[in-house]
């Protein structure tokens, strides 16, 4: 069933491409239907999840000579990300109902991308993981290069360049793990069980460096983030939402799924690096975002900020001295919650930023003002998204960040106290953005007489994402029960 969830979208994409002369409207509705079915299937997976270890596991031999198999399964860490991915693609599908630019290719590409994304989170084999990871890069490259706007080619190339080089380094690390294991294998659970590089500091350090470099580029953590702002700014709205919501999580997920449990000794040794890089990402991302004049670029930099909290948390989880298991578990749970939360909230904000481009072809904050007048629903959605993103209690971002702060402060008091400043800066930048664009005197770019309010498909795409962020913020147990089951395993594995 998990396999069906993964490959249903790409199968639908092949059908769409194969059948000639499908009307564009049908193509768009097929996207919605397939995404909805896939989401429903993930919900079924969730309801059958028993909460211990890997579930819904499938393992088929693939390249047995080099220990590669088709091995998929879900646990408490991957299941929420699968659900978030399927949900975000569904929102993207609804949002795309008004997409008119070569919809067939667009829909097929996004369905392909959905399979690649789900595949990354379900993979329990390094090569399978790498394959899906790279396919997602290829898919996103085309989304930006073909359906982006303004300076999109250059941004797409830059995105490709960075993340692909990152993935090659990642592959190098995977091969290092493969060679160290006895018998050599790419199977993640086996590698985790063996944690073969404990006791060999040089090789282990190098492999960790390679894996983490690759994942840090994808996440992205400062200083590897420079591909992100142009890619986000020039991508179409749905592309940005998927890029921020899903693709960035592949990096952070890789840390938790592969780097931490398979290289526990190295992780503990270099935990401080993650703490420092995390804090720098938090503050640097927030400060640079504060100075932006382009709405979409600003949201892009807040992603760097939000990913920094995750790095802080997983770095703390590798800090054993002066730390308790309860705190480490809280930090890791917070990190995974942040992945889900950021997907929902930033995904929603990127979809909303598409409204600016659709109406007035500009993201420049200076050219808008008082939009709450002509577009009250749109203003309301952006305001809710902004408050959710700045970590207001009652939304998922708070649940994530509070756990990260509370779990990290004991072991890393200075770093965590500095990271706390991040939520103040993000509060300032979001309120200033609201103030400039939505409140005060009405102002629109020249040559744009009217600004239409959120259309039904935009509302239906975005509102459920924010509603889900609200539900998680108020009643988080349904999510945290699942995440905690996975997080406690990771915490134990790192402490070995």
């Amino acid at each position: 069933m998990l396999t069906a969830v993964i490959f249903l979208p790409v199968a639908a994409a092949l059908v769409l491409l194969g059948v000639p002369r499908i009307p564009d409207a049908v193509v768009r509705w097929v996207f919605v239907a397939v995404a909805a079915i896939d989401f429903a299937l993930v919900v079924v997976l969730w309801s059958r999840f028993d909460g211990t270890g890997f579930d819904h596991e499938t393992q088929l031999p693939w390249m047995p000579s080099i220990g590669v198999s088709y091995h998929v399964g879900v646990d408490g860490i991957s299941l929420p990300l699968l659900a978030m991915t399927a949900g975000l693609f569904l929102a993207g599908a609804v949002y795309s109902l008004r997409h008119t630019d070569r919809p067939r290719g667009f829909v097929a590409l996004l369905l392909f991308l959905e399979t690649a994304s789900l595949g990354v989170f379900a993979s329990l084999d390094l090569i399978l993981f790498f394959l899906f990871f790279d396919l997602s890069i290829v898919g996103m490259y085309f989304v930006i290069a073909v359906w982006g706007h303004r300076d999109n080619r250059r941004a797409a190339l830059m995105f490709f360049l960075y993340t692909f080089i990152g993935s090659l380094v990642l592959l190098l690390g995977f091969i290092g793990l493969y060679l160290a294991a006895d018998p050599s294998t790419f199977d993640i659970p086996t590698l985790v069980e063996q944690h073969p590089l404990d006791g060999s500091p040089v090789a282990g350090g190098l492999v960790l460096l390679a894996i983490c470099l690759g994942l840090a580029i994808k996440t992205p953590l400062v200083p590897f983030h420079t591909w992100l702002p142009p890619a986000h700014t020039e991508a179409p709205a749905v592309g940005s939402a998927i890029l921020a919501g899903v693709l960035l999580k592949m990096g952070t997920y890789g840390f938790v799924r592969i780097a931490m449990p398979a290289l526990p000794e190295q992780w503990r040794r270099y935990a401080l690096v993650f703490v420092i890089v995390g804090v720098i990402s938090v503050l640097y991302g927030a400060l640079v975002a504060l100075a932006q004049t382009d709405f979409k670029r600003m949201i892009a930099y807040t992603s760097v900020n939000h990913m920094g909290y995750i790095a802080l948390a997983i770095g703390t989880a590798g800090t054993i001295a002066g730390n308790t298991e309860q705190a480490r578990q809280l930090a890791v749970t917070g990190a995974v919650t942040q992945m889900v939360s950021h997907g929902l909230i930033t995904g929603a904000l990127f979809l909303l930023s598409g409204v600016f481009y659709d109406r007035a072809r500009s993201y420049d904050m200076g050219s808008y003002g008082g939009l709450a007048g002509p577009a009250p629903r749109f203003a309301g959605l952006v305001a809710v998204g902004a408050f959710a993103s700045l970590g207001l209690p009652g939304f998922s971002g708070f649940i994530a960040e509070f756990q990260i702060f509370t779990g990290s402060l004991g072991a890393r008091p200075v770093a965590t106290a500095l990271a706390l400043l991040g939520i103040l800066i993000t509060a300032a930048l979001f309120l200033l953005a609201l103030q400039r664009m939505f409140l005060g005197q009405r102002r629109l770019p020249q040559s744009v007489p009217e600004f239409a309010d959120a259309r039904p498909n935009e509302l239906v795409a975005v509102a459920p994402l924010l509603a889900l962020a609200l539900v998680i913020g108020v009643l988080p147990r349904f999510l945290l029960d699942v995440i905690e089951s996975g997080a406690s395993t990771v915490v134990e594995l790192v402490a070995r």
Binding site: I127, A145, L157, T226, Y284, L431, Q435, L439
Partner: protein
């Protein structure tokens, strides 16, 4: 009874959220819904105060959200619900037909729910959540008339400033968890060593921020941009007092830390004196009342530090009634006369007798005239205080008599005839004013009879001295109103600008942060260009070394672009070249896996992989050209 305690914050939160979602459609019904919910909350709070329930729900691992009602919470809950009801009744008449009543009442209810959760929370988690939601509601309500940019600026300043203080609660929560694995408020005082100090510092910071104590006071000035009912409920009676509540609740922690209590005492005293003086210098009635709020909350902070729990709590509740009454009268005048400028309100009390009477009652209570409420509660706070503190507080009391008297004698002065409006106050406003006047006058006296409070009786000498000070202050202010301000210009200006605290914050914090942010952004814009150029060069070098022929081919293909010789074009071309190489790799990887999937024989020989890669690249380039062109 547990349902009752969930309903206390839950009912207004859910109703408020529903009103916000309904939007303009619910404008007509929103006032009724708001008042009905507020009216329901009062008996719920009273029942909860009597039955003292406690409830718990799981939230984070091992860190549940718990609500409970003890003596302090009971007093707070009843105070909050009563003031909320009065303010919402008043608000029915405040907004015109075309205004977004649904948004207003929705936000007010959300605020009330958050405030009720704040005062019943028994863990830092629940407290922090409710605490920050209050701040957000405050933001949205200050900026209620969002078309006017200056109001929105006030709202933004208020939220950011209070959130800076809120970081203290995050810090406290982290420290408490690190030390004990628990966030229970009751257990904070028992924490060990440095964690205890961290929690104390965090709590003091949060309280000072929310309660607009020094040096954060300035945000409350900007908060006056909101509608008068908002000032009455949030920015005087309840939210601003939450810092005082928090310190009263955690008074044992302050004392256990060894320095927290002393800090709170002097922070409160300094704010009471400084902002009392600021209040004297205001020309705008709402600004005067706002500065006075800071000063009065200073007494509560002082009480928490001095361990005078009963006095602090009584002062909080009494002040809530008095100050909301005063803000509502200011709002009523703003509605019927169109001004809150003290000069233009001259004689307003004589024209509108009901409003004037209510204002007189409130102002006399604020001045500390016996036997009205604040005279009693202030002296409860100060009973047993050491001499130095008592003297400082006496100065603050004298100042409060001066500013209250100044406002009072101005509105009671003979009218100058500049006003034409004789519009009576709407009925709803009148009801609210009358309803609040009673507790504003008599709560203090009633508190003396309250069972359990008799343990801390008034000190007769102190009470007598403060009564004399109050009367003397009033007399001085009467002279001031008649003869004009005796202040030098510089002092008056500094007072009117709230001691330049906001300018100071901008200079010391905001501007450096902005400069840093801009510098980093400029830096960040340059890095990718340089980085990408470097990578492109590197890529070309590698390509040249690896395959001369393909290099030549590619170079020929792109040299037409590069011929212009511009750096930009060569940069782009470099990237393109790299990307194609990267694509080769991607397809090679993908192709070889797919090949394996199809159970093709794996030769492991490199040249075959390269052949596959070349074929795949050709396909990909074809697709790319077809799709893109």
């Amino acid at each position: 009874m547990s349902v009752l305690l969930w309903a206390l914050p839950g009912l207004p939160l859910i109703t408020g959220a529903a009103l916000l979602v309904a939007g303009r459609r619910a404008d007509r019904r929103a006032p009724v819904i708001g008042v009905v919910v507020a009216a329901l909350l009062v008996p719920i709070a009273v029942l909860a105060a009597i039955t003292r329930p406690s409830v718990q729900a799981p939230m984070l691992a091992g860190l549940p959200v718990e609500l409970a009602v003890d003596g302090l919470s009971a007093l707070m809950a009843v105070t909050v619900t009563v003031v909320t009801l009065a303010v919402l009744v008043y608000s029915v008449a405040e907004f015109g037909r075309d205004e977004a009543a649904s948004r207003f009442f929705g936000l007010m209810l959300i605020f009330a729910g958050a405030m009720l959760a704040t005062v019943t929370a028994t863990t830092l988690l629940g407290l922090l959540m409710a605490w920050e939601v209050m701040g957000a509601a405050s933001y949205a309500l200050i900026g209620f008339w969002w078309r006017e940019a200056w109001r929105v600026r006030g709202a933004t300043t208020a939220f950011i400033t209070t959130r800076a203080g809120d970081l203290g609660l995050y810090l406290a929560a982290g420290a408490a968890f690190a030390a004990s694995g628990s966030l229970d408020l009751d257990r904070l005082a028992a924490l060990p060593g440095p964690w205890l100090d961290a929690v104390t510092a965090g709590v003091l910071l949060a309280a000072a921020g929310k309660s607009a104590q020094l040096p954060f006071s300035f945000w409350l000035s900007g908060a006056m941009a909101g509608p008068s009912p908002v000032s009455a409920l949030l920015h005087s009676a309840t939210m601003v007092a939450a810092g005082g509540y928090l310190l009263l609740r955690l008074s044992p922690l302050l004392h256990e830390s060894g320095w927290g209590a002393e800090t709170a005492v002097w922070l409160g005293a300094a704010t009471a004196v400084a902002l009392g003086a600021v209040a004297c210098a205001q020309r705008d009635l709402k600004q005067l009342l706002a500065a006075s709020t800071c000063a009065q909350v200073g007494f509560m902070v002082l009480a928490a530090g001095a361990g005078s729990m009963v006095g602090g709590a009584a002062h909080l509740a009494g002040h809530a009634a008095v100050k909301s009454l005063l803000f509502l009268t200011a709002g009523a005048w703003l509605t019927v006369l169109g001004s809150k400028d003290l000069d233009r309100l001259r004689g307003a009390g004589r024209r509108h007798r009901l409003i004037g009477a209510a204002f007189t009652m409130g102002a006399l209570a604020l001045a500390g005239v016996p036997p009205l409420t604040l005279w009693v509660t202030k002296d409860l706070v100060l009973s047993g205080a050491p001499t130095a503190l008592w003297s400082a507080a006496l100065v603050a009391s004298a100042l409060s008599a001066v500013y209250a008297g100044r406002a009072l004698f101005t509105v009671l002065a003979p009218p100058t005839g500049r006003h034409r409006s004789r519009r009576p106050a709407p009925a709803a406003m009148a009801v609210a004013l009358v309803g609040l006047s009673l507790p504003a006058a008599a709560f203090g006296a009633a508190a003396l009879w309250w069972p359990g409070l008799a343990a801390s009786p008034l000190e007769p000498v102190g009470a007598a001295v403060s009564a004399i000070v109050a009367v003397a202050g009033l007399a001085a202010s009467a002279v001031w109103v008649r003869r004009g301000a005796p202040l030098p210009d510089a002092v008056a200006t500094a007072g009117e600008r709230w001691l330049g605290l906001e300018a100071l914050a901008r200079l010391v914090v905001v501007r450096p942060v902005w400069s840093l942010a801009r510098a980093l952004a400029r830096f960040d814009d340059r890095v990718p260009a340089a980085g990408a150029r470097g990578v492109a060069r590197f890529g070309r070098a590698v390509a040249a070394a690896a395959d001369e022929r393909s290099e030549r081919y590619l170079a020929a293909g792109v040299s037409s672009l590069a011929r212009g010789g511009r750096v930009v074009s060569s940069f782009v071309e470099g990237i393109g070249e790299r990307a194609i190489r990267a694509l080769v790799g991607a397809v090679a990887a993908g192709g070889s896996r797919l090949g394996a999937l199809a159970r093709r024989p794996q030769t492991g020989q490199l040249h075959q992989y390269y052949a596959q890669a070349a074929v795949a690249l050709a396909v990909l380039v074809l697709v790319f050209v077809l799709v893109v062109r």
